[in-house]
Symmetry: C2
Subunit: 345 residues, 2 copies
């Protein structure tokens, strides 16, 4: 197993991805790593942290260009063919790596992955599929921003993608699929939701999905389902609202704990528990967001990823690669097509 | 000033609304109240809590019917003309009350308010406009579920409604309006967002609104704007995500505090601070959600409202009535029409 890491992407590149690779190599000794980026910059980091040579199992793939914020995400991979993004994706495409991790621009990674590594044949769209914390573990929420405007077929396919991911990568037995909506009843929501509901219900009746109906954002967070199906706009709003609420509440809690000597003493007593609490909400602990629907594993690490986050994103790419979900999806793609019912009739 | 209260609506009716009316009468002695509902049920509550007669300034308006969950929200007000909902709304319509508070079905209240009390002439849609906690106070989020599918003109009008509300009811000087989107840049989002962005920008350039551009849900929670403009679908997703995240985190925090003797001691030290923390997130403290765009004040109290929540919802209805925003909107309605630019040209 060999995972390529974009050494130039993210707020703390190249330090964080290089250190993350060293950490991942130590934690997962059966995984080889390829650092993709400017050779001199990568060596610079290694010198800084006192590694004169790379350990066995980590190699460098030189890439002279860097995708910048100013680059158009849709075309960056093409206009900068020697960027760490494009070179890394080509390693995956050509079978020289089994997965790619990048903390660079989401849009550029998505466009590049779709057009270089390619979508699984028959899938309409790839989806950003992060996991969110819930009252009984985690749920996968997709799409989360790759597709602001969706059709019924996109959403139907997201349900299958999420279901395979929850089952094969997160290890959930018979994952429950919920359609993110503004009410639980069948007739709730807009036209897109009403039509999608029917298609998901049919898939449930055929035994292909465990469809639990519409789910409101609140109930989803309380653990009502394992897969939350959303258009990229409302999925993104949900994800960012959770992040915002988490940040707001953490800040308020910090204020409560740091108020005076007595509360500071209390904070000390709570230290261990609060650490676990923070850990549950820390995106660095999760790793990254899988791009589901791409024919090989591509993981978007958070822009502000630290070395731990890169290490966890590598673990995630390995898990996706080992799960074989891309093969499962390719095999079952006919089930996920809206014209299948019409064809069968 | 006289506010009508639906004594039959909400999870804890008739107890909570009746007790809420008594509390509001005590706290706001210049506000008279009308309890609308089954006279016998209201008297039953009064006997239960040891009030043989109603205090001066609270009257009962008998209404024999009750809107039930099974009733179609769109037609309930019409099919049950002697329900607390319809009788209460008619009091407002006929000027016998200056505002109406109900914790009953949102859909039924919205339909009834729109068709009995009526929208302000020229407004396309009324909006549910709750306030949400942010890092620097509160922001009004609209629409939050009244309109799952929106047009550019609806969103433009919501921006004005929210801006008047923030300024006149919440007391914000020059409220900053943000368009809820999945990225901050002008070109982000779907067609609806891109077109709305331009209209809001123009309104900003005319000096009618303080438009601060697109806002992501996370930044909105961190206090980037005072008015968050959303279609009813994504606004509802945002609201419910915040509620879910709050509930999830509160539950986790409770686990941390109740773990052992040491953490319980810490919890005691933090008591005061945690109370304020909970208060900020408690929907009962806010009161309710204003239905903006209706020609007279109608406030939807949370379904699980307790007496404090009813009392706060009464305060909110009074504030809306005193603010005169319905008159402001009616006066400025021409500014909020999409055909105005074309007309002027």
């Amino acid at each position: 197993m060999r995972i390529a890491i974009d050494a130039m992407g993210g707020d703390f590149a190249p330090q964080a991805p290089v250190k993350g690779a060293l950490l991942a190599r130590e934690k997962y000794p059966d995984v080889e790593l390829v650092l993709v980026g400017q050779e001199s910059a990568i060596h610079g980091v290694l010198r800084e942290i006192g590694w004169p040579t790379l350990p066995k199992g980590i190699t460098i793939q030189n890439a002279t260009e860097v995708v910048e914020i100013a680059d158009d995400p849709a075309t960056a991979f093409k206009k900068k063919p020697d960027s760490s993004l494009t070179v890394g994706l080509n390693l995956v495409k050509n079978g020289e790596a089994d997965g790619f991790v990048s903390a660079g621009s989401t849009g550029a990674l998505l466009a590049g992955a779709t057009l270089v590594v390619k979508r699984i044949r028959g899938l309409r769209r790839a989806a950003l599929a992060p996991t969110i914390p819930t009252a009984n573990g985690r749920a996968v929420l997709l799409d989360c921003g790759a597709n602001a405007e969706c059709t019924v077929e996109y959403l139907l396919q997201f349900a299958y993608l999420g279901s395979y991911y929850a089952s094969k990568v997160l290890g959930v037995d018979k994952p429950r699929v919920g359609l993110l909506n503004i009410g639980a009843e069948e007739e709730k929501g807009d036209t897109l939701r009403k039509e999608t509901y029917q298609k998901l219900k049919e898939a449930g009746e055929r035994g292909e999905l465990v469809f639990t109906g519409n789910v409101e954002a609140k109930e989803a967070m309380l653990g009502q389902c394992d897969v939350i199906v959303a258009d990229g706009f409302s999925g993104n709003v949900m994800l960012k609202s959770i992040e915002g609420a988490g940040k707001l509440m953490s800040g308020m809690l910090r204020g409560v704990l740091m108020k005076n000597a007595g509360t500071k003493a209390a904070a000390l007593l709570l230290k261990g528990g609060l650490r676990d609490f923070k850990k549950t909400l820390d995106p660095n602990e999760v790793g990254g967001t899988a791009l589901l629907g791409i024919s090989k594993p591509v993981v978007k690490a958070h822009g502000s990823s630290n070395e731990l986050a890169f290490c966890n994103a590598v673990r995630q790419a390995v898990e996706v690669a080992r799960s074989g979900i891309a093969d499962d999806i390719a095999r079952d793609i006919d089930k996920m097509r809206l014209d299948r019912a019409e064809k069968a009739e």
